[in-house]
């Protein structure tokens, strides 16, 4: 058991080192950082001094080691665009993205689960087939298209929901929340739906597939033979057995939701990490880009590793493999 956990942790650490190398390599491709930071009045001697101070004359491996050490202690350097500390910039934006992702995750379960059950138990009926078709459309529509359509309908035409920004926020320690004000909640509405739609269809399709499988199993047949009411079979017996994969997928997908939020954030001008990243990409602000890459991958890898370990704790069969 301990060996399994250690091996998973070692794997995760290896992957993070590799991601850090990618993030580090981005700087190399980007060109000479001294040229980017220097202003016109700097003499060649000043530039050389800056180069030496930044450690750019050291061997590559030393520079990489320093990058990893700094990143591990949360130091990603200064933004090339406005000279602010990168970690501070990202930390400021972190709550906005997380609140969006949390609401989207909640929506995906609150809407996806019942719809999944409905399409499974109504298989062959017109409404289930219609929902199934709609779900293909939901998977096919890119999230920026969903966002634009939502804005067109609810902001431009009906004028009932704000189309950009985060509304009023309340500071709560270092966390800023939009949950506590009316405008903050209204602003969350459209972006969270746009972000959640894909996830809703995923949950729905997964629940449907699992339900169809479980409904064929012996214990459901037995429950039916005992005369258990149908809705009890659906929601207490069958659905409960579908929840494990749904929870796993939801936990693992939080990482990709955070990444995909960057598209939603661009459409709705939502002041989160993703918008910061996209602006960094357009302005070629490489410290912000690589910090974002490292942080997102860390969340991603940490979630996957946690799910794997949790599974091994729950299900001993998984410890044997590999």
């Amino acid at each position: 058991m301990l060996v399994f956990i250690l091996r998973r942790l070692f794997n995760a650490a290896f992957v993070m080192l590799a991601v850090a190398f990618l993030a580090f390599a981005i700087f190399r491709v980007a060109g000479d950082p001294v040229e980017m930071m220097a202003n016109e009045q700097m003499t060649q001697a000043d530039r050389d001094a800056l180069r030496e101070r930044m450690g750019l004359n050291d061997p590559m491996l030393v520079q990489y080691g320093r990058f990893v050490a700094n990143a591990a202690s949360g130091d990603f350097g200064m933004s090339w665009r406005n000279g602010q500390e990168v970690l501070g910039l990202i930390g400021e934006r972190f709550p906005a993205t997380m609140e969006l992702v949390l609401v989207a995750t909640f929506l995906s379960l609150a809407i996806g689960l019942p719809l999944g059950v409905l399409t499974a138990i109504g298989r062959g009926r017109w409404y289930a087939e219609a929902l199934q078709l709609v779900s293909i459309i939901g998977v096919s529509l890119p999230s920026f298209v969903v966002g634009i359509l939502l804005i067109l309908v609810f902001s431009v035409t009906l004028g009932i929901a704000p189309a950009f920004g985060r509304g009023e926020v309340v500071d709560w320690g270092w966390w800023s929340t939009g949950f506590l004000t009316h405008s903050g909640r209204a602003a969350l509405l459209l972006p969270s739906i746009a972000l959640a739609l894909y996830q809703i269809t995923l949950v729905m399709r997964l629940v449907r597939a699992e339900m169809l499988e479980v409904m064929r199993s012996d214990f459901v047949k037995f429950a039916r033979a005992r005369g258990v009411p149908r809705h009890r079979i659906w929601f207490l017996h069958a659905l409960r057995n579908c929840l494990m994969p749904v929870i796993t997928m939801t936990a693992m997908n939080v990482g990709s939701l955070i990444a995909f939020a960057l598209i939603t954030e661009t459409v709705f001008q939502w002041p989160g990490m993703g918008l910061l990243f996209i602006q960094a990409v357009t302005f070629l602000d490489f410290p912000v880009m690589s910090a974002y890459l490292v942080i997102i991958s860390f969340i991603f890898v940490a979630l996957n590793t946690a799910v794997d370990i949790a599974y091994a704790v729950i299900d001993p069969r998984l410890r044997e493999t590999k």
Binding site: I137, F144, G255, T266, L284
Partner: protein, 326 residues
């Protein structure tokens, strides 16, 4: 079902090679197949195929019939800017779907844009297939060190969300290109970015299948007969791994078109001088609140139709080729 590879290569009737309607011709055989049967029973697959064919034809034949070449600035006239669609009272012939703020005909721009989207989607699926098949075959066949290295590389790529991989590759590759090549190279950069994000999936599928096939008796026989490794891999194993890959490729064609559109929408894809559907949506998005809805709604509809039809076909293929569901 007979394996085509085991059939004798000589003395075949001519219609076995050339498509014809003879009793043993390819078309006749195809029409007797399970795949064709399930296709005719699946209305959404038929609809998807028809719409897809129509869109592809319309896009590639566009230069023959659209009123202007949207990439030629000389054909744009600012006097024609912001004309609404033809059914609107201010609509004007020949601008069926209206014009944008530059006087660009939306229908022409959308059809040319679809052409770019389709070509980029197709090229990136083809390239990632080639890379994925190659890596998967080598890793699965040789195992050991090659396997570890290739699959670890895949693990690392999979531990970064695909959209991030694509954005980073696209941003960095554009930066690495000399400034005068950036506009021309944009399509190539996009293909590269989408490919790097997508090949891992094929490699993993093929590797798993190869590792299984490698232990089969016909492979052992081939190796005893001293058939070279390359031939064993490509002629004996590869055909047996293709079914799941084929399904994944169809679905990924839709994904590739979406990724291209997303990158272009974010401003790191096709430039405004050669707009793809994503670029058109990005340009139109700035005018959401100014009442000229047609510059964004029509590209959105076209993109959605394209991807939905690909996914309808892909969904059907996945179910039809899944032996568990037979």
């Amino acid at each position: 079902m007979t394996d085509p590879a085991t059939q004798p290569q000589v003395n075949l009737p001519a219609d076995a090679i050339l498509p014809s309607d003879g009793p043993d011709g390819r078309i006749a055989r195809w029409r007797k197949s399970d795949l064709w049967y399930s296709f005719t029973r699946n209305p959404s697959a038929i609809l998807g195929t028809l719409v897809l064919l129509l869109l592809v034809l319309a896009a590639f034949a566009a230069p023959l019939y659209v009123p202007q070449n949207p990439y030629d600035p000389g054909q744009l006239d600012l006097l024609n800017a912001e004309i609404p669609p033809i059914w609107h009272s201010d609509g004007m012939w020949p601008f069926l779907l209206g014009t944008d703020t530059q006087g660009r005909d939306m229908l022409s721009a959308i059809l040319y844009g679809s052409r770019i989207s389709i070509v980029i989607g197709f090229a990136s699926v083809a390239l990632s297939l080639a890379i994925g098949l190659m890596f998967g075959l080598f890793a699965g066949y040789f195992g050991g060190f090659t396997d570890t290295v290739l699959m670890r590389l895949g693990d690392i790529l999979l531990s970064i969300p695909t959209i991030l991989v694509a954005i980073l590759v696209s941003a960095v590759a554009r930066q690495a290109l000399p400034a005068n090549l950036r506009e021309i190279g944009a399509a190539g950069v996009l293909v590269l970015a989408i490919t790097l994000a997508a090949w891992v999936q094929y490699a993993r599928t093929v590797r798993a299948q190869t590792a299984v096939e490698r232990k089969r008796e016909y492979i052992a026989t081939a190796r005893l007969l001293k058939v070279p490794a390359r031939r064993v891999m490509f002629h004996h194993i590869l055909p047996n791994t293709l079914t799941p890959v084929f399904v994944a490729a169809t679905l990924n064609f839709g994904m590739a078109i979406l990724t291209e559109a997303t990158l272009s929408f974010l401003g790191i894809g096709m430039p405004p001088s050669q707009p793809s559907l994503g670029t058109l949506i990005r340009l139109g998005n700035d005018f959401l609140f100014s009442g000229i809805w047609w510059v964004v709604v029509f590209p959105v509809i076209q993109l959605s139709l394209l991807v939905v039809s690909v996914n309808l076909v892909g969904d059907w293929l996945r179910d039809a080729l899944n032996p568990k569901l037979r």
